[in-house]
């Protein structure tokens, strides 16, 4: 027996952060090279839209964007910019990439965080309930619905919900994030955003909810058969306390891993939902950038996404040792 409170794992954290820098740079290089393989470039896309594709115009566009230089030079310049936290300029939007991404970030974060929270609360409750009534009616119903939500594409659920709740019932707006015409301010604006948020957040949550419910159910079933649960029953502990205090904490490790992955993909994870609900988020920005061959913008989003993933993984590892005291970080 050594100390009671474990010291904060500084060494682990620093090692992992150093690794993270190299991981992100590696991802940046791979992403850059992969995108070079895609046919066409930003100059072609721009020229195509403006309807003039003569060689001189293309060449001048390429020279302006630096696309005429050799690939290794472009890569070098790209990496140097990233190391300086300079994400460059989007010729497409005519503004610098950083402010473009950060102006879209709040919308995406709001959508993803609220949908993951909804899914977490629902997944935990229904997963635990299913496990406690395994093979009986509540479990059967929950499992069927979880399977349905898991198997149905979110964009289809989104379209159906728009049809029912927006078009037919008129309860919620069909898309967007703010009612610009109304010009709400203060608390009214918050309510307005919440009103717009409900449907996309639910649609995005359904998918996560299905996964979380199944994970929690499986984990709980495994734990509820263990000896210490029987011991807890022999102590006269209530079934509620056994489920939520004794079993849950031992059953959530797989859930934490998956939630961590979902949080990691927070920027690009809602592309379809954002598109269906014309939600002004980063996912759609990335989607558009892909078609417009706006490589600077696309690469920047990819790099920022990879930073999110790396941080989420790190947080998951730290959470592991908080949740399960037998986990040692090295």
């Amino acid at each position: 027996m050594t100390s009671l409170r474990r010291p904060f794992p500084w060494k682990f954290l620093i090692t992992r952060l150093v690794h993270a820098v190299f991981t992100v740079l590696g991802i940046a290089i791979v992403a850059f090279l992969l995108l070079q393989l895609a046919p066409g470039d930003a100059a072609q896309a721009l020229a195509g839209e403006s309807g003039t594709a003569d060689a001189e115009y293309l060449a001048s566009l390429r020279a302006q964007m630096g696309l005429d230089r050799p690939i290794y030079e472009q890569l070098g310049a790209f990496l140097m910019r990233i190391l300086r936290f300079d994400l460059g300029y989007s010729f497409r939007y005519g503004t610098d990439v950083a402010s473009l991404i950060f102006s879209r970030m709040p919308a995406t974060l709001l959508l993803m965080v609220s949908s993951i929270l909804i899914a977490l609360v629902g997944g935990l409750f229904f997963g635990i309930t299913a496990a406690r009534h395994v093979n009986r009616l509540p479990d059967r119903l929950i499992s069927i619905f979880a399977l349905l939500f898991y198997a149905t594409p979110p964009f289809w659920i989104g379209l159906m919900m728009i049809l029912i709740f927006s078009v037919q019932l008129g309860w919620a707006p069909t898309g967007g994030m703010i009612n610009i015409v109304a010009g709400h301010t203060g608390f009214a604006a918050v309510l307005d955003i919440a009103h717009h948020l409900v449907l996309p957040a639910l649609v995005q949550a359904f998918f996560y909810f299905a996964i979380y419910t199944r994970l929690v159910r499986t984990g709980m079933l495994e734990v509820l058969n263990l000896e210490y649960i029987r011991v807890a029953r022999a102590k006269g502990i209530s079934e509620n306390r056994i489920a939520y205090r004794h079993a849950l904490q031992n059953a959530v490790l797989p859930l934490v891993t998956v939630v961590g992955t979902n949080v990691g993909t927070i920027l690009g994870g809602a592309v379809l939902t954002e598109t269906v609900f014309s939600w002004p988020g980063v996912g759609r920005l990335m989607f558009d950038a892909l078609f417009q061959r706006d490589l600077n913008l696309l690469l920047s989003i990819l790099v920022i996404s990879s930073i999110f993933v790396v941080i989420a993984n790190l947080v998951v590892d730290l959470l592991y040792c908080v949740i399960n005291p037998t986990v040692e970080l090295r």
């Binding site: 027996m1 210490y228 011991v231 022999a234 006269g236 209530s238 904490q249 031992n250 399960n324 037998t326």
Partner: protein, 337 residues
Amino acid sequence: MMPATATERGAPLLEIEDLRVAVRGRTELEVLRGLSLRIWPGETLAVVGESGCGKSITSLSVMGLLPEALQQIGGQLRFAGTILPTGDNAAMRKVRGRRIGMVFQEPMSALNPVIRIGDQVAEVILEHEDISRAAAMERVVELLAQVGLPDPARLAHEYPHRLSGGQRQRVVIAMALACRPELLIADEPTTALDVTVQAQIMRLLKQLQKDLGIAILLITHNLGLVAQTADRVAVMYAGRAVEEADTITLFSAPRHPYTQGLLRATPRPGGRREGQLPLVEIPGMVPSIRQLFPGCRFEPRCTHASAVCRSIDPPSHTEGATRVQCHHPISTLEALS
């Protein structure tokens, strides 16, 4: 010393009467086939028998914690004069941990790995008594000291994985005794432990029994342990108590052929020098609950069996200080020779 008879001892603390437990939905598949046992306050009753004879199912029945697949189909459990509501989970929760404590076989898996030891013990007290958390934690530290754990105040803040198997079993015992129950069920409490630690744990249990005056239902297949610790012994075979007697009588004059077989299969220190026969095993195996036949369950393995054994299941009868279920119990003289 002659054992006191039932009338001298007063009322039993726990009375298991004709307990029948079967597979849920298939009542002909009986795991316990009319088990009767009695435990008086403050005594140690050892229940012995081969694996699969229903020892653990007996203890789980008393706790009302039968697995989903099993179901009590008959019989009665009386505890301190009242019938145990084994089918009513809410009512049984007030009994479990408070009036009947239980110690399980596997100390390594009996503690929740993510809850501090002190909290796991305090939980029992907080569940059953109207007491503040701080007061409960004080009791916990006392309890941990009482079960012989070093530095209990510090240990209460530890997680189970920092403790050895013997230490964990002490924690489990502290949990079981936290509310001073009248009965402690110890289901193979030392089987998973080192031999030296086994002796320590049994000594601790006996000491606590003396201090607190609790009755112990000791479930084991270790006859050596029984000889050292039990006041009375019940031998179980295929879901029934085939012989019940005080320890000295049972070891010196076993009446049931199965008991005799068990004793012959148990080594005794110095037995060879004193001319003890080499160890003899009981031929065959415990019959499966799927094998249905009318006679004595031990008949296929019994050397004393006759025609009546094949057709009629022997009823229980008392011979001297022994309760035995056998058509041809071994006479005292025969047993002594």
